[in-house]
Assembly symmetry: D2
Homo-oligomer: 313 residues x 4
């Protein structure tokens, strides 16, 4: 296991949620994971988030998850922290994934509220407390109601940040107003707590509001763009930040590649991210995991056109 420094607190910057490159047979393509990690680190990102929603974690077996995570930790080689998604329905299962992540050398864990089952704020708080005491790594809460169908409450997050259960939040709720109301009390109560937005289309506004960083799925495709956006915002150059965000918002159109009449949103968006990274020569094969519907030739041409327009090909 690589020796590594503790995660900075607050941890900040651009932390892309890596797609998990697969072979045509559906296995994790370790060499492509390495190349993707290298490519992103070379672009200046501040961390790697493995096994998130963009990483198709819901589609991977536990062994595949371990393989992909280990490949990323090896590739990072301590240059940037590697955060590991530990996405399972409830506590005992998340803790098993957490043990895997510890063994693989991850620097932090990212867990959602329980899903599939009906839950409650008191149960969610207990869930995160059990995770923190059961695994010796900093813990980030992943607020993603579109997947787990529960929104983390402001009170819950504030309480768990204040008592040290949580080291950070990845907010993919899309509820920017709620996040804004949370930031000031959070800063007062837990100054080293990290807030990352997953809302990759409004990063300029989120950084203006005071978040520490962004976890952009589109960062797989244009990490340089997100790094420029982040640096512009840190420098207070909001016109440059906005212009960069506008460019990235146009590029985000690649996620509409697939026709919603014939495939789901995951097939289209993750298919497009992988197609783009493949067209850029970073990963060998653009396959997504079953039962997602693969993009066809027309969709690939659509993605390619947008990459050219964005100056990425």
């Amino acid at each position: 296991m690589t020796l590594r420094a503790p995660l900075p607190a607050p941890f900040r910057g651009v932390v892309p949620p890596l797609v998990t490159p697969l072979t045509a047979e559906g296995e994790v393509d370790v060499a492509s994971v390495s190349r993707l990690a290298e490519h992103l680190i070379g672009a200046g990102v501040h961390g790697l988030f493995m096994l998130g929603s963009s990483g198709e974690t819901a589609y991977l077996t536990d062994a595949q998850r371990r393989t992909a995570l280990e490949a990323a930790v090896d590739a990072a080689a301590g240059r940037v922290p590697v955060l590991a998604g530990v996405i399972e329905t409830t506590t005992a299962r998340v803790l098993e994934r957490a043990q895997d992540a510890v063994k693989a050398g991850a620097d932090a864990l990212v867990a959602t509220a329980p899903f599939y089952t009906r839950t409650h704020p008191a149960e969610i708080a207990g869930h995160f407390r059990r995770l923190r005491s059961g695994a010796d790594l900093p813990l980030f809460a992943y607020d993603i109601p579109s997947a787990v169908h529960t929104k983390l409450g402001r009170d819950t997050i504030l309480e768990l940040a204040t008592d040290g259960t949580l080291s950070g939040l990845k907010d993919s709720s899309g509820d920017e107003g709620s996040l804004r109301r949370l930031l000031a009390p959070l800063r007062a109560a837990a100054p080293t707590f990290s807030v990352f937005t997953g809302a990759e289309l409004t990063v300029d506004g989120a950084l203006l509001a005071g978040v520490d960083g962004v976890v952009p799925g589109l960062g797989n495709v244009d990490a340089h763009g997100y790094v420029r956006l982040y640096e512009a915002a840190r420098a207070g150059d909001w016109d440059a930040a906005r212009a960069e965000q506008d460019r990235l918002a146009a590029l985000f159109s690649i996620t509409d590649a697939g026709d919603p009449a014939v495939m789901g949103g995951s097939s289209s968006a993750l298919g497009a991210f992988k197609a783009a990274v493949h067209l850029q020569g970073v990963i060998d094969c653009p396959a997504t995991a079953a039962p997602q519907i693969p993009l066809g030739e027309a969709e690939f041409a659509y993605v390619r056109r947008h990459l050219v327009e964005a100056g990425l090909l």
Copy 2:
């Protein structure tokens, strides 16, 4: 009817959705409407939005709606435009409200997608087209899925902006990412189209992204704050804009005055807005319309405390 200039295009600035002051008996308090309008215009707002969700339009009879709208038009006296919500389930009913608004002297209409019934994008487009051709006033689309349970599609808005059906959009969807994707193509296709956000907690980010203005319910309580925020953003002073927004986000806590175990979100938020404006001496009576639950003494004390903290009392 007051002579009035055409609505500027694009129309811009801070346009509060006025609460509708009621007497203890539940009738529209015309004198308080006038005082509120005068108070807001004095604070520098750029328009008045009557009969929106914050105006309790869903609780008012048609006669009450007319009374409130006429009072605001009289009070504005042509100094700022008055936009009129025409909130009804479907086309024929909205058109009746539109005739009332034309007679009352409103400067523009604000209509939602059909609600109560199951609808479709093609029906929504037809709805707005019929509204535009049936009423001789500029038409704004009001995107408020929390109330109508349909999100206006980007394609629909773009199509209706391009062909001149819509003059503007009031976006209360909370979906800032979707709005960001819409802004650039909208600017290209319909340069005079106005985009207002109803997301009163993230106005700095929305103005950075390029919206034209904001329709803040909290603007009833602190119009000066929203005007300062808007002016700072127009001047490119984003630090000042953020600081003002942070202050307003703290003030927004008044909307939590009511206990969710005993009343709904409307009772709490609209009750708090009215309590605040009453405590400021602007309206005579803080009553909300039945069957909303009135705030009690403890809740009034809570609102008062926040007003004092915000320097408003």
Copy 3:
């Protein structure tokens, strides 16, 4: 106003929610309302429900609602009770419709929970209490979460049935399990309370469970079928009831006439009901109200084919 006997308690049987026949210009076709009412009464129905969701009440102006209701009351001529939907966003508005219904000679009112706004069980209870004390007619609660996005709680219904606020319930929630849990305590606490299901595809099971009757939209098209189903169930002939329900479930396929890619569910289902009643020669024109999308020739042929298969043409 026609002299009329009080509504039986409990009121029982088949009470179709009449479609509102329109002219090609979109006005209420009074002669067709009369013919439809006559047709249904001739088939043995036990009451008429005007201005419900199937009656396109959300699409009609207040004047059109009055016209349609008066035509039905005239046509019924006291032979069966006429229930009037009073579907508006909140209390004061519903009370205005209730006054119209009283004047038109309706025998009972049918009201939903507040909609468009955010509400709460305590507010819903207050809403129904104010309606009952403000209008001198028996009051039915209309539980239709698909339209109003709130489910009436079992406790609320039980409380309002017990204290005499409500005379009955029209349950279109589709939550048959919740209804089953309600029936026994309701019978014990309020023996004359009427429970009607709006779930037109499972009427045999609902009658077995103990409901008093059904409000079937498909009853516009095959009232004889629903009357036979009801009579079979009353006679304890459950095999006959099931067979009739199975036949009606097949006929219900007409509601799929419209392609969901080009129109909403209301356009398809209400369009099909009107097409069927028109093809049967009962109403003059199959038009639905704007902005619904009209069915085309292929859809009419589809409806006709199902009517023939069902022995209705």
Copy 4:
């Protein structure tokens, strides 16, 4: 592995979804699994469903799932079939659970649509097809939108029943109308296909409509009652079936034991089932899995009172 006869087709009857008894330390209590299985078989049930939602499968590790399933297969000893839930987010993960189930000696698999991710009917069909070809056991679809947030379409089920992918359906959607529309075409196209309802409060109506059986969580507590209900329905004694269902609907009140202000629906309902089976002396410990909130003394007294009223203690 026990030798076993093929699953009857259609498979019919009462198939309770067993709770998974745990020790106070949270491990699977094998002896209690055996006693519960024996108790249910003694009551005349026609099969056992392990690792469903009532079995807390979302809370168990893979090892715990295997332990619980093996214990049930051993206890059943071929007397009744054992169905195994294979509840995972997507295809590859479900297939791993399916291999475990095959090894453990299960007689059939029960799988949901993908969850956590955004999916599409074509992807759902592909999911079930891959499961069927990847695991050599009859496959049941588990339609449970409350957990997976997707409703299985009638067309999808019909297609997969017709081509032999699916052997049956466990319908926990609560959408009885949709199920009714499916039954007739399903019978015509796939006469040996089994339809089980999970709607334990309306089993009489569902059996009248033609389903083959029921998977009642409450069957853990009163299996004799569900067997009597099933037998009465098979005998055409619908009055007896209804009376039994009414008694069971009253007993179902135990699921309200927990206060929704302090715990989630799963904690309350599963806690009550386990409390009841523990109070009946069948399982040693009523503990539910973390992070669910345990029932307290008052809640146990509430459950006990209902058991006494139902003649079960």
